[in-house]
Subunit: 428 residues, 2 copies
Amino acid sequence: MKKKIIRIGVLGCGTVGTHFIKGIIKNKKTLRDKTGIEFTVVKVCDIDRKKGKSFPAIFTTKDSEVLESKDIDIVVELVGGTEYAYESVKKTLSRGTSVVTANKALISEKGREIFKLAEENNAHIGFEASVAGAIPIIKAIRESFAGNKLTKILGILNGTTNYILTRMSLNASSFSQALSQAQKFGYAERNPTLDIKGFDTVHKLSILSALAFNKIVYWKDIPVEGIEKIDPMDITFTNEFGYRIKLLAIAQKKGMGLDIRVHPTLLHKNHPLSTVEGVYNAVYLEGDMAGKTLFYGEGAGGNAAASSVISDVVDIGKKLLCDTHPYKIPFYADKKIAVIPMKEISTKYYFRFTALDKPGVLARISNILGKNGISIASVIQKQESPERAVPILMLTHTAKEEFVQKAINQIDRLDVIKKPTVIIRVEE
Amino acid sequence: MKKKIIRIGVLGCGTVGTHFIKGIIKNKKTLRDKTGIEFTVVKVCDIDRKKGKSFPAIFTTKDSEVLESKDIDIVVELVGGTEYAYESVKKTLSRGTSVVTANKALISEKGREIFKLAEENNAHIGFEASVAGAIPIIKAIRESFAGNKLTKILGILNGTTNYILTRMSLNASSFSQALSQAQKFGYAERNPTLDIKGFDTVHKLSILSALAFNKIVYWKDIPVEGIEKIDPMDITFTNEFGYRIKLLAIAQKKGMGLDIRVHPTLLHKNHPLSTVEGVYNAVYLEGDMAGKTLFYGEGAGGNAAASSVISDVVDIGKKLLCDTHPYKIPFYADKKIAVIPMKEISTKYYFRFTALDKPGVLARISNILGKNGISIASVIQKQESPERAVPILMLTHTAKEEFVQKAINQIDRLDVIKKPTVIIRVEE
């Protein structure tokens, strides 16, 4: 069988670009196993020569080596902004070469022109990484929920503002203190306007809404308020009411119209989106068939975005190779994975002993546990009832199943133990 | 352009089958808009003649009309079990016709044979609905995280047991009481063994693990404990420790082996899976690129499963028609959706007034709100400080933005109001 290869050119070698290239190299075998295709980055371009030091053999500062190459199947645009990025994406699509981008501003502002150009030139565009980092929300809306009338989207789509609000909430710090912290840890840009004022969220919401409702949604039509005026006092007070403040993206069908907006919003602490903290993102969807679904994951960071860029590259690669067959399914492979026998697993445990309430019982139990290398995290005796059987509850540190079974076996043979001990494993 | 049609035959007209057929009919236009393809159910077969009364024109009790038809592109198998289902799927694939199934037992037990047969006959198999209902977890693992080395899966994959555990937790009822309730509401089968003893979860975990780790994982190799021995006492006690008990599917890479098991498990209440209640399902994944992600949604019910069946039918339909182009993207369409102006939206509100602490102030505020049709859900004055400005916090019932702005404008002009009122909207 002919070897299937997809050759990739990368524009922009910042955080996402670097993680993308490293990911393609690191997971080459995984990708080949799952798709039967060899993915390889043949050229990476950045105006900053220093960016090339990890990839000297494929690095260039001349974008023509990517944009005009006949040996590139997919151009991955990771430059950002809407000017140079737009020009280079247009040039690529015009030549019939497919594009993958993480650029929400570009898709949101120039999507109309770009998708038209792609269709005219029979090229593909992937943009999973433009919204919500590693969360496959664009694929979910376009493919998984294709048979749904979607009615509602709620999203925490911006890691910077969510980090700031989380920080304000945990430390009762002011907006400007929290912003400084975010900048210090690299979670906010030096000029954070696009994030803080909600425009980044608006861009992303316009993309999700257009896909979900299959209509044009201009980002400029979406009412927006940022988080810059949030007072720590309101975070404290609303917390007492049982609410969290989140910069929420909202889009819901109302008759023939769309109630769509981005603003700081109170969410009750029972609401699944209220517990999304720090730089995490989440999207809640409602559809007439699927019901209520929630997707949660890392919204920012080089690896998270690179994960989505790779998934687009894989999808488009398969289409370019006319590989319409599903991903190879391992059920009929002959490689069986070694299942670790139960007795060899290690985890934490909850025990409920039913023991006589008299002095020295706990010492005897602890002694057996100790000899089997099981250390106790906490222990509670629920009732007092001298000389009668009472429950004793225990949480352990990490221990090995084999020794746990052995120890409990020994303990259950003690004369002071009146019922078989209940064992439930704990997952962190 | 030639009209693109995909003709579907359905085996089994139970809950999922009925919802699937109704969904295809109800959302025909949505599907056409999103894919450019016309999906149509041409035949549905069930041994029970009564099942056909909603679809008399396409109903049959003779499965040969589905299995031997030349006018069917995809057979949707919704019979369940591993005997007749296996025979009919084999027959379909042998003819080179593609299959979509929601049957986890079939995929888990006979996957090896079925996928081999599909490949030999160049047919497709979709099985998104076999795990976690409407949650697109199979697509996520196979496609979205194709570029990841996945390292860990945690899942709540069985609605019946999760419903029972939730019910035991809320009502301190016994296992058998909670099971009866589940049966009464249709959340448990009359013979609930497969669910209760964890075998259904094991089937599903074997499917997810095989896909995630790209190796064979036999369901019989997976250690399993059911929930039938869970004592309400342990639910109460562990709750006091801050834990919930869930029937958890666990699979994690440990060196070259796999730590894989299904058993009742304590999850701390801060763990994102601990809050998954009732018949909902959730899957937590860790990958070397994507980091930590969580998918949550309806794990049971006809519509949820039908949503996933439709997504498979759409994916396979596109492949059969060699439509390798991405889903039509609406950005360049000319249909613009009407964005509802901000002043016309209705929601609940949080207000923070800064008002002089003197008698009659609240009456004046309430009066203005009342005249604008805004009713108060709760109000708190945080401090007492006679004759000085103090914060007054208020939550409203649903009100219209326009009237809220008007009312707050009037209120802010009162001589007793010392700062502009803070307004934050609330989302349920």
